[in-house]
Amino acid sequence: MISVKNVGKFFKDKKVLNNISFEVHKGEIMAILGPNGAGKSTTIRNIMGIMYPDEGSITFRDHKDIPRNKIGYLPEERGLYKNVKVMDILLYLADLKDYPLKKAKERALAYLEKFDLKGKEFVSVEELSKGMGQKVQFIASIIHEPELLILDEPFSGLDPVSQELFKEEIRQLANQGTAILLSSHQMNLVEEMADRLFMIHKGQKVIYGTMDEVKREYANFKCTIRGKNELSELEVLPEVQRIKQEENKSVLYLSKDVQPAMWLKSLPDNVRIEELVLDRITLHEIFIDVATGKNLILEAGELDA
């Protein structure tokens, strides 16, 4: 659907985006991740034509000019005009996207009902609670049936109920064929929802691939052992790449090809175990590592370069 190729962007002399390339396909949820200031919003603004890239190109269905009325956008910094009615603003935003007003009205009413805002269409925006406002913003971004939906931190500040509602709606839109580009800090949600992900740090690509690929490649097994053990004793264990020790807890990062059952059997009898957890490195941990500059991922090698 949309394809970003070798995009670079300068703010004055500083290069804030460097050689960014990814694609979003029809009917998939693609997540763009990264710590604050990594360049997520800048990338999105370049796609939306709010800024223009200094290098590279962005194409929508192989066309250079991006039809903005086919894209829905929920920015990170978002709000609504204060002193207008909910329906008025929804229709205005639909009108700006060249969407027929009559259809927009029907869809607005349907979505308001779906999001538990039935009867609020003639209420002034300033009378809505924050959560209600966010729902209206979300409706505004999808009212014109976009082919590509860009959501910048859609879950920030949402209560768990609304979060679930949004998740459900986003999934449904993807199933109906909408291409979705989603940026978020909340790794658990991304892990749950995204089909593919693109991780960016300091304007550079760090990881790009499908969720399964990424997990297979980067989310190696790790074994967390609670109990007092000498570092030297653990270091000699097979398949251990590195060890993180703090007080009574040791985290053993295992190599990619480890066979979990066999590896457990290979543990010597003298290892003191009060508690043992064997699981995969989560997206969250990868994210933290990237953000704090510990290059755990680089050790594992790049994927899909």
């Binding site: 603004r45 939306m48 956008y73 929920l74 978002r78 709000g79 008025d88 971004s141």
Partner: protein, 414 residues
């Protein structure tokens, strides 16, 4: 262009549904009328229908009864009386009176066609014109005395002239000869379109101030990115300018609907006739250019800040620009063609105000100056629109802080 109209329509609709705007819309003409009524109340400017003008006639030709008849016939609100008072006594008599006039009809009236008229300061504006009703009576006396020789016929051919001699009449301005096509009428002819254009300009400039608020609205309400995902900053900016222009016109029209009938009722002038003259088009063009200039400046500066209360000195200074013609009001009133008037005409910020004021006062329009000023205005409008576009594009996305003059300069260079 389509998107520009969408934004314009939205701004109009949003304001027309806004109580604050509606109250302002209706209260402006009401306040205007209220001030005019108040002014006449305190200023003693009572143009009451029942005001009686005392007219004393020193009649040496014995035509008083004829004069009285013509006053009755013409339905004037005059109290006509005979007097024996001499011209030398009149001045004392007039000092502590209002609406009083003395006419001296004597031999010189017959021979030279002159009637000396002394009036108080306060007198009906049209009194001197109304005196024309006596012309037939006086002429008939002249005719009676004719021997039909050419020499004696000439005073008759000269007609009658009323010579106005007021209290200050002994001074240098004394002998203003008032004819039926008096100076008052031609001044009103110029004043009405000028005042109209001035009023239109003031009301659209004031509505234009709302652009200021509106420019930072998207920033304040954090909508800038949502809106800009559908249209370009240029379209948004133009849409706002067009929208507020239309709102300004609506404001003017509503005001006119209220005020014009009031003026016609109150001052009994053929305002409509004076209003729709070709000059009005030029004056309106000046007013519209003035609006566009200030709209560009407001929308540009408005986009650099979150809201008016956090405006820095620089922004505050720029907001004062529309009031800059005030500097020139004094000099222009003194001498509408003087050096200061011309300087004011060529400075883009003061040009619309000064031009409208000057053209209202001048009988002969300085067309070359007007054209040069219009060219300067058009170029300035184009130039400031460009600048505003550049500032707006960056400023609108700058959340949470006001831009410094240094930063604005940097955006302009970009």
């Amino acid at each position: 262009m389509r998107n520009t109209w969408k934004v314009a329509r939205w701004e109009i609709k949003r304001n027309m549904k806004n109580k604050t705007f509606l109250i302002g819309l209706l209260s402006t003409p009401v306040i205007f009328i209220a001030f005019m009524l108040l002014g006449s109340l305190f200023g003693g400017y009572d143009v009451d229908e029942t005001r009686v003008t005392e007219v004393f006639v020193n009649d040496e030709l014995n035509i008083f009864s004829e004069l009285q008849m013509s006053v009755e016939e013409s339905d004037l609100n005059w109290n006509l009386q005979e007097t024996e008072m001499q011209e030398s006594q009149v001045l004392n008599k007039l000092e502590d009176r209002e609406d009083t006039a003395f006419l001296f009809i004597d031999e010189s009236t017959v021979n030279e066609g002159l009637v000396s008229v002394y009036t108080t300061d306060e007198i009906d504006n049209f009194f001197m014109n109304q005196l024309q009703i006596f012309v037939p009576q006086i002429q008939s006396i002249q005719l009676e005395r004719l021997n039909l020789s050419m020499e004696e016929l000439s005073p008759f051919l000269n007609g009658i002239t009323f010579v106005e001699e007021t209290l200050q009449g002994n001074g240098e301005n004394g002998n203003g000869e008032v004819t039926a096509e008096g100076g008052l009428t031609s001044f009103m002819e110029r004043l009405v379109p000028g005042a109209f254009a001035g009023f239109i300009m003031i009301s659209i400039v004031f509505t234009g101030m709302a652009i200021f608020q509106s420019a930072s609205q998207e920033k304040k309400d954090k909508l800038a990115e949502i809106i800009l995902s559908s249209l370009t900053p240029g379209e948004l900016m133009q849409g706002k300018i067009v929208g507020y222009f239309v709102l300004g016109i609506i404001q003017s029209l509503v005001s006119i609907v209220f005020i014009l009938p009031f003026l016609i009722w109150r001052y009994d002038l053929p305002i409509m006739e004076y209003l729709f003259v070709p000059e009005l088009l030029v004056l309106l063009a000046i007013a519209v250019l003035g609006f566009l200039l200030f709209a560009a400046i407001f929308v540009g500066i408005g986009a650099t800040m979150e809201d008016v209360t956090t405006a820095g000195n620089f922004q505050g200074l720029v907001m004062m620009l529309p009031f800059s013609p005030a500097i020139f009001i004094g000099p222009v009133l003194n001498d509408p063609s003087g050096l200061f008037a011309q300087i004011g005409t060529y400075i883009p910020f003061t040009s619309p105000g000064v031009l409208i004021l000057r053209l209202t006062m001048l009988e002969e329009w300085p067309w070359i100056e007007v054209i040069i000023a219009l060219v300067i205005l058009v170029i300035s409008v184009w130039f400031f629109m460009k600048l505003a576009g550049k500032i707006f594009k960056v400023g609108i996305l700058l959340y949470g802080k006001n831009a410094t003059p240094g930063e604005i300069l940097k955006w302009l260079k970009a």
